[in-house]
């Protein structure tokens, strides 16, 4: 127990390290004092004492988590696996019947693999098409970037185009500013505040 507590204290920081270290470093007299002081006599001087222990919190938590996750995942999946393997023997390879297009999961060998492919995964055809779609998008944007760079290079080289551009903005503030300015102009010219 003392060996375990030394290990625990080493892993739990300097605060826990003090007790075992002090037992090594202190002089015998001081050690006697510490040993006596570490036992609290809860009144009366009889046998009733309160012992001090290192914390068991981490170990309890670990056991709780193990219990929880085993019941959550390992037990249902294990039961399912056992059921499938009991009710399905070794799968056999069959020729594809005439005029029949197998679903994509029917190419997997084990029933569990088939179920996982059916329920949780995209089909290989879909993955293939998705990948090609991403390639298409990347290639299009690369083409557009190249074209834009070329256009800008030609414009700066020839200098015959002013490169007007249009930015779609909300014109409400522009109108407001215009009205405000107009008001101020009218007030100024009406002679009221002169």
């Amino acid at each position: 127990m003392s060996g375990l507590s030394v290990l625990r204290s080493a892993s739990m920081g300097s605060k826990m390290l003090q007790a075992p270290l002090s037992r090594i470093i202190l002089t015998p007299a001081a050690r006697e004092t510490v040993l006596k002081a570490s036992v609290r006599r809860m009144g009366g001087g009889h046998g009733r004492t309160m012992q001090k222990y290192p914390s068991k919190f981490d170990f309890t938590l670990l056991k709780d988590h193990l219990h929880f996750y085993v019941l959550l995942g390992v037990v249902p999946l294990g039961l399912y696996t056992m059921y499938i393997n009991l009710t399905h023997g070794k799968p056999e390879l069959k020729d594809i019947p005439e005029g029949y297009e197998p679903e994509y999961w029917e190419y997997f060998r084990h029933p569990i693999s088939q179920k996982f492919a059916k329920w949780f995964h995209y089909s290989p055809e879909q993955i293939y098409e998705m990948k090609m779609h991403h390639i298409k998008i990347a290639q299009d944007s690369a083409k557009m970037a190249l074209l834009q760079r070329k256009v800008e290079a030609l414009m700066s080289q020839r200098g015959d185009y002013k490169a007007w551009y249009y930015m779609p903005i909300n014109e409400r503030r522009v109108w407001k500013a215009y009205e405000k300015e107009e008001d101020a102009y009218n007030r100024h010219n009406s002679g009221k505040f002169n």
Partner: protein
């Protein structure tokens, strides 16, 4: 000892069977009464996937990444299939050699020849490309080999001296 008579069992055999029957009988019971009836009407088969062939990389436009992707996928699949074929041939060769030992030169000639030929063909197509070699590398390799063969004759015959 006459065969097939239950009385012909020796005492040792009887004890032996009774003892191991402790393990065997429950297993047999479960197998015959639970597992096999449960498996009766279950469909349990899988199919072999065959991919359609697509045209080679020589028909792709330059810079057509999608075409390249498809052809490269086919190339990698081909490489895997050819590698598996080669594995089987190698396994046959090794097993034959182990079985016949000293006589393998005499009895395993066909296995050795098949494997060497297949390995040479595999290396001719996929060799020297590395793990990341793609279909363009293989195509260029084939092109360079054809040019070399036009100049110097079949591979293995040695290079002609330049005039």
């Amino acid at each position: 000892m006459p065969d097939g008579e239950p009385n012909s069992q020796s005492t040792f055999e009887k004890i032996f069977k009774a003892y191991f029957g402790l393990l065997e009988r429950p297993v047999k019971f479960v197998r015959e009464n639970v597992v096999e009836p449960a498996r009766l009407n279950k469909e349990n088969h899988y199919y072999h996937r065959r991919y359609r062939r697509i045209p080679g990389v020589d028909e792709c436009e330059i810079g057509d990444e999608i075409c390249f992707y498809e052809v490269n996928k086919q190339f990698k699949r081909d490489k895997m299939v050819d590698g598996e074929v080669l594995n089987i041939l190698r396994q046959r060769k090794v097993e034959c050699g182990v079985y016949y030992g000293e006589d393998k030169k005499k009895y395993c000639e066909k296995e050795f020849k098949d494997y060497e030929e297949a390995a040479a063909n595999f290396f001719q197509k996929y060799g020297d490309l590395g793990a990341g070699g793609n279909v363009i590398d293989a195509y260029m390799k084939q092109k360079h080999r054809l040019i070399w063969e036009r100049r110097h004759g079949p591979v293995g015959s040695g290079m002609k001296a330049t005039e």
